[in-house]
């Protein structure tokens, strides 16, 4: 046994021993210091500080200065009712103003589905998902997981509207007026159902897995959606701070994960049948929102030069290898 170990040592040499020791030391340092050596490289959504309040108007001029990010979407897959996937991409912009985060979503949708009055009608909708501040790890973007909850802001087009009278949908129906208007006779309202209360078109929700989605104790998310020229534009807004550990918190100089979902009601999308994204990174910058053009040309030129320079090395190597292979033949 000792002989075979010595032979292996001779064969592998000191490099192997040093390398193995290095692996163990690095793994130990990562484990004990909890410093992750890897850094995210996926899509980044930057939220700069606006110099004026964008409000809930999706047409505010502030949004023209915020850089959009196109986030790819896919059908929801993880649980029933699965499906969706009719919206391939959502364009997202974000800014903050005086301690409030504003996020604007925009996506193509030829029809404005703003009613869910009849059983066969489904409203257009959109949602934004963040990890809860108490999450110990990056949660599953599918409604989170135990120990890593998610905070979801859910906007519905039908919540923007006043509830229609039954006779508008069913002209030949005869409806008796309800004699009482107090909450006792409107059980959902009496129970505090946010949809029945309809104080905001956006519900603030929390979840820790499928089947656990529930309204948060704080309903502080505001929102407004406008359908124009075959597109929905929806603005979400919420103050940075949140007392509930199940909610997300924000602040200048911080990063968090964010995912998006979109429902197209005319395609019968509702519940889990929706278009969803992966998590991307939301970076909230303390810097002011750039004033004029969105491009930072020095960085653009540097990045392009870096890309081209390294690509030329690769092409030269490719040519070198090709020539070498031809000579070898």
């Amino acid at each position: 046994m000792r002989g075979s170990f010595a032979a292996a040592m001779r064969k592998r040499g000191w490099r192997f021993v040093l390398g193995t020791a290095a692996v163990l030391v690095i793994a130990g340092v990562i484990q004990w210091t909890n410093v992750k050596p890897a850094e995210t490289q996926n899509l980044m959504l930057f939220a700069y500080e606006a110099d004026r309040d964008p409000g809930l108007d999706p047409g505010s001029p502030v949004w023209e200065r915020a850089q959009p990010v196109q986030v790819p979407l896919s059908g929801q897959a993880a649980t029933y009712a699965a499906g969706g996937g009719s919206v391939p991409v959502v364009s997202v912009r974000a800014v903050h103003y005086r301690g409030t985060l504003y996020v604007r979503l925009e996506w193509d949708d030829a029809t404005a589905d703003t009613s869910s009055y009849r059983p066969e009608d489904f409203a257009d909708a959109a949602a934004i998902e963040f990890p809860a501040q108490a999450a110990t790890t990056i949660p599953s973007f599918c409604m989170g997981q135990p120990g890593a909850a998610v905070n979801i802001w859910h906007w519905r087009a039908d919540s923007e509207q006043q509830l229609a009278l039954p006779t508008e949908q069913y002209p030949n129906a005869v409806v008796d007026l309800y004699p009482r208007t107090d909450d006792l006779f409107f059980t959902a309202r009496a129970a505090g159902n946010p949809y029945a209360l309809n104080t905001s078109p956006v519900q603030n929700l929390v979840a820790q897995a499928f089947g656990t989605l529930t309204p948060a104790a704080e309903q502080t998310v505001r929102g407004h959606g406008v359908h124009t020229a075959g597109k929905w534009q929806v603005v979400f807004a919420r103050p940075f701070a949140a007392a509930d550990p199940e909610l997300a918190t924000f602040g200048p100089g911080t990063k968090t994960d964010v995912a998006f979902a979109v429902w197209d009601g005319s395609k019968d999308e509702r519940d889990g049948m929706k278009s969803v994204s992966q998590f991307i990174t939301l970076s909230i910058s303390g810097a002011p929102l750039p004033g004029g053009g969105r491009l930072e040309w020095p960085w653009v030129v540097t990045a392009i030069a870096l890309f081209l320079g390294l690509s030329v090395i690769g092409l030269a190597l490719g040519w070198y290898g090709y020539r070498d292979a031809r000579r070898a033949r």
Partner: protein, 304 residues
């Protein structure tokens, strides 16, 4: 051919890919594959199994093993890149030196990204260029077509991220980039099977079985689960018809059965890396896999 002339050729034929980095690269491939299966696939899907409370203990054990594999893979990635760089440098030819330089530049970009020096898009662009440069450097052999598909998929999917990071709105062209990137990714196993030329009934039976199973799964309700996993782990949105994924699965299986065992390490690293920009750990796996493919070509003096 004389005996003197045959000697270097025989030596080159006996040479495994990057012999000094071999042990670390193989260990990295095992750890990264375990991390892919247990962390990125297993733990993210198992939490949705309805009967999970009854399976909580095995789930906890598998998650712990997956976390350990991720920890080990991160440490191994650093050491493997170091071993590859020193090996490339010590080969004494231009190709080896360039691999060493590209790996060193990647290490610098990953460190700069981690330390948040400069805008992230700078390091995203550098990583994208490094990976396409390494893929280009590995061209010239039989793997030229699949490597071209790999590089094209990386350029399109990663380019979609970088363009937006630079402040440009890709608009409708962005969607085409995603679709074409997906098409290039699906063409990769097709090109692989043309390059590897699998022989024997067994390989084609396995390929057919993989294609049929994938086709059935993609067309049924579980197709959404597969699309979800490809989006999360490979960066593919599953936007093309199910038929294309079935063909890709079949040809991919046939290719894997046809390649030499030595090629499994770089292939495993590239699969675990996925396509497009995700994080510096997955980019490191792509850099290591491609660098190993470049170093698999013997130095010029030994081929002539």
């Amino acid at each position: 051919m004389t005996a003197i002339g045959a000697a270097p050729r025989l030596r080159a034929a006996a040479r495994p890919w990057a012999p000094r980095s071999q042990a670390f690269a193989a260990a990295l491939a095992v750890a990264a594959s375990a991390e892919l299966l247990l962390v990125r696939v297993g733990s993210r899907t198992a939490i949705h199994i309805p009967a999970l409370p009854a399976l909580r203990e095995p789930y906890a054990v598998l998650t712990a093993i997956g976390d350990g594999a991720l920890l080990l893979a991160q440490a191994l990635a650093i050491v493997t890149l170091w071993a590859i760089a020193t090996e490339g440098w010590s080969r004494g030819d231009r190709r080896g030196a360039a691999v060493a330089a590209l790996v060193a530049v990647f290490a610098g970009t990953a460190a700069a990204a981690r330390l948040a020096w400069g805008p992230p898009v700078l390091w995203q662009a550098a990583t994208l260029a490094l990976i396409t440069a390494l893929a280009a450097a590995a061209l010239g052999g039989r793997a030229t077509a699949p490597l071209s598909c790999f590089a094209a998929a990386w350029l399109l999917l990663g380019g979609h991220t970088v363009i937006q990071g630079l402040g440009f709105d890709p608009g409708r062209a962005g969607r085409w980039m995603l679709w074409l990137g997906e098409a290039a990714a699906l063409a990769l196993p097709l090109a692989g099977v043309a390059a590897a030329r699998p022989a024997g009934v067994r390989a084609w039976l396995a390929a057919g079985a993989a294609a049929v199973i994938t086709g059935i799964l993609m067309s049924g309700p579980s197709g959404w689960t597969l699309r979800f996993l490809t989006l999360w782990n490979l960066g593919l949105a599953g936007a093309l018809p199910s038929f294309a994924y079935a063909v890709a699965a079949g040809t991919g299986t046939a290719t894997l059965l046809a390649v030499r065992l030595q090629a499994w390490v770089p292939i495993a690293l590239l699969v675990a890396a996925g396509l497009g920009l995700h994080n510096t750990y997955q980019s490191a796996l792509a850099v290591a896999g491609l660098a190993l493919l470049v170093l698999a070509e013997p130095p010029v003096g030994e081929t002539q």
